[in-house]
Symmetry: C2
Subunit: 394 residues, 2 copies
């Protein structure tokens, strides 16, 4: 079956929201390494997660992330199996445990900024697990069309609040915080926690401002199955199990217990090492290509040309994110005047080899996800099509 | 870098315990599919987990498992991210929730048979999460050298016990239940729960006898990152979150909630579809090669020739599992008279391209893991070496 096949492919113009496109050169390298890694005559996925080559992959990936994101020594990087959903759950257990440690047993509460379906699900999970949640902003009634100014957010009670949770880029609804969220709004002592699943490594960030950054790898930088955590080291301090029971804080499943994961170099629960290897290759490629400064420049350009093209036809293409400053540089969401036109758009785009453009089932319309692996060339082809389609059908 | 490489490799004689060897032909197919799946010019890891091709992979894998294991309609198959560790945690939450449903709110207890390090960790996790655990058998003091006859197990209180948990094959210590565990011992109404992470699909089993089978894929059948669950459908019934709170049963993180996973066709938490695809290819290959009847025959033969060779030198090779009937057909653990001889064995075996033989760090000695993907030919080469080494050094 495989004999006549090759590892080549035409460069895809694929705008799927996740799992998403990866650089072809990374996949080719990974394909070889799946069968014979480092000339060991054994694949990278077949070796023990505690073997030297596996530990090297984990350590290299961590080092690449530290270098790309300029992660200070105050912060630790680790990996867990899972995606955004296991991520937002694990945060609840661990950050409330740390808060209890800091306050000698207070249960506390958390502030959640609900700006799309992912932050909404995250807030619901914290409540479901038995914690008090303050929804400090909620744009659901506005269909998540904006991120309101911080002056309109409900003030945070610094005395009783463990952390503020934001979703830095809402994949489904296409809005994004362009700078560090909540700079002057956040009281000292309350930790900033951000889900960056769909925009991690797309831009420079100031890690020192965050208590915790969590990112599922599958959207911007890797395969499904691995989640990156960047945590302020002081947040790893937790009470004992007995103390947690006394305080009425639920224990996480042991694989979710950050101190255990960190003290086992991310391999307590067997790390999917092939998936981590892909992350290593992706981060290495970013470093080789000029780091996040360069990648951010390309990503801004991509978003700019696409939003500009859409904005030229304001009566034809509608942008549900009405606040321009909140429009995501990763997920460009837009709609057309009718279902028929949307179906026609998808069909004709596909005939032009522009694929993955259908919007999320909960929102409809179109969504062009233009993650790191999507080239400026792909976006320019989409821009051409956007213009042609409007000229013909508007 | 990649241009001169091929997807070929010499057949490895690799006996690592996990992540472990996979069939070369499966990895080759997967390597192509990583880049271009079904001639879509897109890799299997880059498509949405809710797309038709991804759903097809999930459904095909389930169908293959149903066919191979002859799974009755009374049982459901589903997948979760994770490995054995997330597996044994998730079982605690879900089975106690189901028990509360059946008993109108009783918390109940669970029986654990501790016959190695994995069942030991599983029992500790159930206790850690706040449940009463009856250790009905514990062979730790005997260094897990046997599985005692059921007449010696502590009787189970059927009135208050939700389930009996066994680890069907203890990877670290090399013991295995050869038939369905606890046949006459288990009272009616108490569910049999088995961790089969390291021997699933190695032999025929009677699924109807089990309440739940859990198996991390990474040892016998796939890459790390995916766990198979086969559950009696009636065990999916659970109280509401409010009721669980009232009963004092902790809620699992939402990604661990079996009813949610099942109702979302294993894709609530994004399924690592590349890993699932490998599982599909592995199960398809098993079906094509004659199913589990044929594979079991080969596995028994492999274990038989290896144990026989070791037994020929009883003063040289020691088998820590003293009870012959409990010796694992998957993980053959043995030791030599001195650390020096063990180091020499590992070194010379490696020079003969027989690798992955070092025992688990907690046990020492040697371990030959002879999972499905390890061929009879590899085992025969190891047998030759075992004999030669003894003849020279005994």
């Amino acid at each position: 079956m495989a004999q006549t096949r090759t590892l080549d492919r035409e460069e895809p113009n694929y705008f799927g929201a996740g799992p998403a496109l990866l650089p072809t050169s990374v996949l080719q390298q990974a394909a070889y390494d799946l069968i014979n890694y480092n000339d060991e005559n054994l694949g990278i996925g077949e070796i023990s997660h505690r073997s030297k080559p596996a530990i090297q992959v984990i350590d290299d990936t961590k080092a690449n992330l530290k270098s790309l994101l300029n992660i200070p020594d105050t912060h630790e990087v680790f990996f867990m199996q899972g995606g955004g959903t296991t991520g937002f759950s694990s945060i609840v257990y661990n950050l409330f445990a740390n808060y209890a440690k800091k306050t000698n047993g207070k249960k506390g509460k958390a502030a959640y900024a609900v700006t799309g379906s992912w932050s909404k699900k995250s807030a619901e999970e914290a409540q479901r697990l038995g914690f008090d949640v303050d929804i400090v902003v909620n744009t659901k009634d506005k269909k998540f069309a904006e991120i309101p100014p911080y002056s309109e957010w409900k003030p945070i009670d610094a005395e009783s609040t463990a952390y503020l949770y934001v979703c830095d880029n809402e994949t489904v609804h296409g809005n994004e915080y362009k700078d560090t969220p909540a700079p002057d709004y956040l009281p000292e002592g309350v930790e900033l926690v951000a889900d960056m699943s769909s925009n991690i490594l797309s831009k420079k960030i100031d890690v020192s401002k965050y208590g915790l950054i969590m990112a599922g790898a599958q959207k911007n930088i890797g395969l499904a199955g691995l989640t990156i955590y960047i945590i302020k080291k002081s947040l790893l301090e937790q009470p004992s199990d007995e103390e947690l029971n006394k305080y009425g804080i639920p224990l996480p499943p042991i694989a979710f217990h950050y101190p255990t994961v960190v003290s086992n170099n991310s391999a307590y629960n067997t790390i999917p090492i092939f998936t981590c290897h892909i992350l290593k290759l992706v981060t290495q490629r970013l470093l080789d290509n000029g780091g996040l400064e360069k990648q951010e420049e390309i990503n801004k350009k991509k978003a700019q040309v696409l939003y500009e093209a859409l904005a030229k036809y304001p009566n034809f293409y509608r942008l549900p994110v009405t606040s321009e400053s909140a429009r995501s540089n990763m997920n460009v969401v837009f709609t057309l005047p009718s279902d028929e036109l949307e179906a026609k758009f998808i069909k004709e785009a596909s005939e032009n080899k522009l694929t993955g453009l259908k919007g999320h089932r909960s929102v409809g319309g179109m969504r062009a996800s233009i993650y790191n692996a999507v080239t400026l060339n792909s976006v320019e082809l989409l821009v051409d099509f956007v213009k042609e389609f409007a000229d013909k059908n508007a």
